[in-house]
């Protein structure tokens, strides 16, 4: 038990690790973009006039929220080629993150949209605003403002979940770390430093979101 900590392999691999951080950010931001699109369209479809569509959205949300991301990413990884789509691991991971985050985003944004009182929408329509405009300005924006904190913590969680994408060897921080670890056997040093890098990444994301929040969702509107 005379183990001496040795950080040389980590220091030597630092450029690779920083590139891995960028990979992680790319996965996270790509996943969030898809998640927002799925989230907003899901909220619209969930109020569809057609029952099957409403049920499909509900089923999608429940299915994704009650199964592990690891199983989802494996499933998507093996299912895409069968559907005729041959993607590299990294785009596959972005897609999987987007689908996973999208289900949570639907649930969160829907909560916000429900808090908009019916009268607001009716007032907008009565003023002759187009339906799309009513949705964008009267429903969506205040809804997003109301749920922005929950959305932020969900997206931080999504950022941390990117590490699971290493299971299909997508390019991100964890897979870079695993490579360095398997070459040097300095497991604790490598994963300890990576953990701190992740901490930095999640702080970066938090400040990113608080900037967006003050920039676009401050109230009252100037």
């Amino acid at each position: 038990m005379n183990y001496v900590l040795d950080f040389t392999p980590v220091l030597d691999g630092l450029p690779d690790l920083l590139a891995g951080c960028l990979g992680t950010l790319l996965l996270a931001l790509g996943g969030m973009a898809i998640a927002i699109v799925i989230g907003i369209s899901g909220v619209v479809l969930r109020d569809s006039r057609h029952k099957p569509i409403r049920w499909a959205v509900k089923g999608f949300v429940e299915l994704i929220r009650n199964t592990p991301f690891l199983v989802q990413i494996y499933f998507i990884y093996f299912a895409l080629p069968l559907a005729g789509l041959r993607l590299d691991p990294t785009p596959t991971a972005i897609l999987a993150l987007g689908i996973n985050g999208g289900a949570y985003a639907i649930e969160i944004i829907r909560g916000g949209a429900q808090s908009i009182s019916r009268g607001q929408v009716e007032a907008g329509l009565a003023l002759g605003l187009h339906k799309g405009l009513v949705f964008r300005l009267i429903v969506l924006k205040p809804a997003l403002r109301a749920v922005f904190p929950s959305l932020t913590s969900q997206f931080i969680l999504l950022t941390l979940t990117t590490s699971v994408a290493s299971a299909i060897s997508a390019y991100e921080l964890t897979s870079v770390a695993q490579r360095i670890e398997s070459e040097s056997f300095r497991s604790f040093e490598v994963f300890g430093v990576i953990t701190l890098l992740y901490l930095g990444i999640s702080w970066l994301m938090m400040s990113f979101f608080s900037t967006i929040s003050t920039r676009y969702f401050s109230y009252p509107v100037k």
Binding site: N66, V71, Y74, F75, S163
Partner: protein, 213 residues
């Protein structure tokens, strides 16, 4: 997929349940300690608890498992994968449950604590008899939500090399070359565990919303 493979998946399921249960029970004890430290009113202790929570909420669960797994070996404790992973999940759950319960303790109206102090109740009794019973009720939906998250999280133990449901699925899928079938079934098994809990959680949430209206 034959019966043998399916039974192997069920063995994995058993370990998933065991790991979730241990993580949740031990994490509850740790989480209560964290929540009490976080609301203790002593500056240093509050900072410490907040730091612990921030550390575990700001890093991926997978990294926490890796660091605990290799860190324990480093300080000379050569534990089986099973014990190391349990410790990892316990630390993880302590942070999340600590933060959830901290929020619930804060949500109990201050007047309750003040009234209890005015009645000359000491800290232990004030917490045990007045604040915590109310806080637990408030925290139940979020606590169940976290339990679901924890059950799903145990799938990451497979990456560290512990054979639970997800890894059992991986092994079977490598044997019979039908990944979609196998991961579909694994997904359904997870769903059957998590969905009832989720439904119960949202049921409690609705009831709480009606009660506090």
């Amino acid at each position: 997929m034959g019966l043998g493979e399916f039974l192997f998946l069920l063995t994995g399921l058993k370990w998933t349940v065991a790991l979730s249960a241990i993580g949740f029970v031990c994490g509850s004890v740790g989480g209560l300690a964290i929540a009490l430290l976080r609301t203790s009113g002593v500056r240093g202790l509050e900072r410490l608890a907040a730091g612990y929570i921030a550390l575990f909420q700001g890093t991926p669960l997978l990294m926490q498992l890796f660091v605990v797994y290799y860190g324990l070996a480093l300080i000379g404790l050569h534990l089986s994968a099973w014990v190391a992973v349990s410790i990892g999940f316990t630390l993880h759950a302590s942070a999340y449950l600590g933060e959830i319960w901290r929020g619930s303790i804060d949500a109990v109206p201050r007047g309750q604590t003040e009234a209890a102090s005015a009645l000359n109740l000491k800290y232990t009794s004030r917490m045990k008899d007045v604040v915590l019973p109310q806080a637990i009720r408030i925290s139940l939906p979020a606590t169940i939500g976290f339990l679901v998250q924890l059950i799903k999280g145990t799938s990451l133990a497979s990456i560290v090399g512990f054979t639970e449901l997800a890894r059992a699925g991986n092994i079977v899928s490598n044997q019979i070359f039908e990944p979609l079938l196998v991961f579909g079934i694994v997904g359904i098994l997870y769903f059957l565990m998590c969905w009832p809990l989720s439904l119960y959680g949202s049921h409690l949430e609705n009831r709480l919303a009606v009660a506090s209206r």
